[in-house]
């Protein structure tokens, strides 16, 4: 069974028919070609599949493509601009906030949403807000440092 959707992915509109069972993460990877969004667990635990749907970080493995009909989606591919990396990507780079990198796209997407919405961030708050993202490599310290740095930079720029 199929259903028609019209979804904006990183500023490009995608109008097509998809199987009703298609998860948003599969649509992003297989139809929209955004392979940076990955599946770690498929059970809503790990956050590797995190993208923004209408400005909110969500887990795209636990959402139907049909539920995103009419929505605007931002994935890791949409973060960088002509001037180069997004400040959050740069902070992750500078703080060595990744090892194997499998969790990175999801954590960066959640972190960008966190810094947009929370203006008073300390280490404890950040650790609480990234509970929905699991990283098996880094031990989180450098991730938290990177987000703190990006938050400071966002505040300076604001």
């Amino acid at each position: 069974m199929k259903t028609a959707v019209s979804i904006i992915v990183n500023d490009r509109r995608c109008e097509t028919e998809v199987p009703t069972t298609m998860l948003l993460v599969d649509f992003l990877r297989e139809v929209a070609g955004s392979k940076g969004t990955v599946v770690g667990c498929d059970t809503g635990q790990c956050g590797c599949c995190t993208v923004h749907v209408d400005g909110d970080a969500v887990k795209s493995c636990t959402m139907l493509t049909a539920q995103a009909d009419g929505a605007s989606i931002l994935t890791i591919e949409g973060l960088a601009s002509a001037d180069g990396m997004h400040p959050m990507q740069r902070a992750f780079h500078e703080h060595h906030a990744l090892q194997c990198g499998y969790c990175t796209a999801g954590i960066v997407m959640n972190a960008v949403d966190i810094v947009t919405k929370h203006h008073e961030l300390d280490e404890r708050t950040i650790r609480r807000l990234i509970e929905g993202n699991l990283c098996r490599c880094t031990g989180y310290s450098n991730i938290v440092d990177a987000i703190l740095e990006a938050a400071r930079e966002a505040k300076r720029g604001a």
Partner: protein, 272 residues
Amino acid sequence: MMYEFAYVRPASLEDAVRALRMHSEAKPLAGGMSLLSAMKLRLAAPTHLVDLGRLDGLAGIAGNNQAITIGAMTRHADVAASPIVREAIPALAVLAGDIGDRQVRHRGTLGGSVANADPAACYPAAVLGLAGTIITDRRHIGSDDFFRGLYETALETDEIVAAVEFTRPARAGYMKFPHPASRFALVGVFVAEFGAGNVRVAVTGAGPRVFREARLEAALAKEFTPTVASAVAVSAEGLNSDRAASAEYRAHLVSVMAARAVAWALAPTSQS
């Protein structure tokens, strides 16, 4: 992979009920945080999903001096951030802000949590503790009659939760001992005092369904203090026993969480 299903997105509550009535194996879809996960594991196989996502009338928060009413499709993140909820029942805002993680809170809904009646979910404790009323497309159901058993409620198969009304307490608190992996409540206790001598205590995570703890209610009705709550010995009979905690440990946690919830109710902070 999920089994095949048809997807429908009604534009009115009446159409949604009609779609559910037409197909006996149809199910409402809210945020999908529980339902889609169950379908992926093939624990659920509805033939039709009736997406409530476009029923704008089902989302929103309103309040008066006696109660606040929260639409079924209101997301956890919106309840946590609502000035109305934070002013009227701060414990409810904190509870919503502590469900799962922020990505889950951006999709999960009050109606989905209440209809799902997961034995370890947080909202059912608030609904029962705050003497809530479940407002459906056809009737009002009191919280004492709503939660029937493991994932079982008083809802008919074609019935849709439209909103939940929460009675405004004099003070209230919620504390959970989170499961270390899932963040659900290993044990969660909601306490609410509605004026002298009227106290409700609802426990989630400990048994097959959310329930009221009569001994804690009677003790706290006399004196609403943490010391009184910790002195109550809760029976382990009928409580869950699993890898994470024995029934005896859960019984112990009930009075510990109740004491912490009372302490919070007496001096609320913005975090649990």
